[in-house]
């Protein structure tokens, strides 16, 4: 009886181990390791990246001699406090584009979860046949290296001294910055109401700005209240203009009779740097067939920008803001190194876009003084 129990425990444990292995994708990896098709090879590489087995992923590359291992790992693991350092590859899709006897290309959509929400990355991957298996030819993109140098910055910064607790009322105080909403447009979307527009800091000091809105029905009753959340550049330097967008999900525009806007501005310690140039902006169709506004960001200053956030306002031929879209950029901005970006644009909006304007918001994950 004792032996039966012991055998049962050993068998059950073995069964659980096998089940766990399959559950964790081990079977799939085993199957993919054979990489008899280009898609299988790409999937295998990406599953290793998903498991953060970067060394093993690197071993799958056909052109290891050309690809620096550290650079390869940084592409997925992030660096310089970029958004990818706070992200994990959650899922991916791979589908074939072209296959011939020796070479093939596939398209992969990588879906990351990040500290600021989901992030999608679409890549075209080339592969080559090595005997019976396919191996990934990783693109060789030598990272532009900035020669060591000193970049002089006439550092311009505002600091705020707030009143202390217990200070008397009516003693010297500093007013909140003057900001103004310069445009607002209510847009009906199939499943929501969206308010878009622009806000300007009219003051001579930086402002921390947030735009909120309340929708009212014909009887004056409140339908919904929302704020721009991260679809705005919160820190506005003097005379700086930011687009904003406020989403009201599950609401129809026909029900809305009145909109009450509320813009709040607080004094904020801020720096006039970094200056980020947004170049090569154009509206184009991405590999997935979606309309995007793409371009590249160039950090003109000497400090690293960890997490760039692009916000774009689109105007019709009358100069009215008809849409605002935004997106986080996975890579950090190193000084003077261009980094590409692309933000989505709904197809029905794209056809009415006459011009657009892009601003870059940024978040630093390490304190810089």
């Amino acid at each position: 009886m004792k032996n039966v129990l012991a055998v049962f425990i050993v068998l059950a444990t073995g069964l659980f181990v096998v089940l766990a292995w399959f559950q964790s994708g081990g079977g799939e990896r085993r199957q993919m390791r054979s990489a008899s098709t280009p898609e299988q090879a790409a999937r295998f590489l990406l599953s290793e990246i998903q498991d953060r087995n970067f060394e093993r992923a690197y071993e799958q590359l056909a052109n290891r001699s050309d690809v620096d291992k550290k650079t390869f790992i940084r592409e997925f693991n992030g660096s310089d406090g970029s958004l990818l350092t706070y992200a994990s590859l959650e899922t991916f899709d791979v589908w074939g584009l072209r296959t011939d006897a020796q070479e093939a290309s596939v398209r992969a959509r990588l879906h990351y979860t990040t500290a600021v929400g989901p992030l999608d990355d679409v890549r075209d991957i080339k592969l080559e046949r090595r005997g019976e298996t396919w191996k990934v030819l990783w693109p060789v993109n030598p990272t532009p290296k900035l020669p060591p140098q000193v970049i002089p910055v006439n550092y311009l910064r505002w600091d705020v001294i707030n009143p202390r607790d217990g200070d008397d009322w009516g003693v010297q105080s500093v007013d909140s910055p003057q900001v103004r909403i310069i445009s607002m447009n209510a847009i009906s979307r199939p499943d929501s109401v969206v308010l878009v527009g622009e806000v300007v800091n009219e003051d001579s000091v930086p402002a921390y700005v947030n735009v909120g809105a309340t929708l009212l029905d014909a009887s004056g009753a409140e339908l919904a209240q929302e704020s721009s959340f991260d679809k705005i550049s919160h820190t506005l330097l003097p005379k700086q203009v930011s687009p904003y967008r406020i989403d009201f999900p599950n609401l129809r525009l026909e029900r809305v009779k009145k909109v009450r806007m509320d813009v709040k501005a607080l004094l904020e310690s801020a720096s006039a740097d970094p200056v980020i140039e947004i170049s090569q902006q154009k509206i184009e169709t991405d590999p997935l067939g979606k309309q995007v506004l793409s371009g590249q960001l160039v950090n003109e200053s000497g400090q690293v920008v960890n997490i760039p956030h692009v916000i774009a306002a689109y105007y019709d031929s009358n100069g009215k803001v008809i849409w605002v879209s935004d997106g986080y950029v996975a890579q950090a901005l190193l000084p003077q190194v261009p980094v590409p970006f692309a933000v989505d644009l709904p197809a029905e909006v794209a056809k009415n876009v006459h011009s657009y304007r892009v601003v870059v918001n940024h978040f630093n994950t390490t304190a810089q003084t």
Binding site: W169, Q172, N201, S204, I278, S279, Q281
Partner: protein, 284 residues
Amino acid sequence: MKPGFPILLVMVASLSAWAAEMHAPAQVTAGTSLAIATNGSGRGTFYLIGPAKVSKRDIQMGSQISVDADELERAGRYLAILCASDGCTATNFSVIAAAPNRLSLLVHPSRVPVAMSNGITTVAFVFDNFRNLVLKSAPVEFTILPKDGSELRATRQSEHGVAWVTMTSARKEGITRIGASVGHASEVRVVQQVASDACNLRIKASRVNRELLVETDPVRDCSGNPVPDGTVVSFTMTDMGGKTTVDVPIKRGIAKITMPIKGRARISVASGVVTGNDLEVTGG
């Protein structure tokens, strides 16, 4: 007018007619002591109910109850209640603010564009030494001391404890000191008069190596004041490579940026809602 209240008051008053009596002055000045005369004999309990303090103590009926000055610092309505074995009696009296000796001075805004009509408002609340609002009218003297000018004075009578003035900001940027005084109290605030929006915003371009240096002329407002450093100037360039935009803060009076250029380019400039001139340039 609610008809029930007078009846009630008469009844309450008649009730108190039988109880022990107290005599307090109808009005005293904040921070002064007070003596309340009582009649009767035996022990009693005295209650003093004020806006910021209540107290309760045993007293000898027929003696004077002294209320210390520190119990009467807050202006308002005070209730004195005396309870003896045969019931309670009460009287109320007012404590009024002492002489003006403090000011709360609200000056807005703390930053104001130059030459703004009635752009600065100054409100003075008059308090006594115990921070009671002084409701009796008092002359408040306002002074304005511009950075490079002579002092201006104006006097306003306070009403309900408050006096105010409005003024137009100067045409020249810089700080101005605004003061108010009443009695022994005086307060000063600083208002920063800043340049208004940019006026005649102009850019010029020159070639630096293979890039284009675009810079503004010194950015000034319509009164000729330099627009403060840090103010953002937006450059937009459209060339064969697409559109390039950069928000550049003014440093040392000008904003400048170098941009790569492909073929013919059109460059425009703006600061806030103010737009400047456009440039047509040809690159390499």
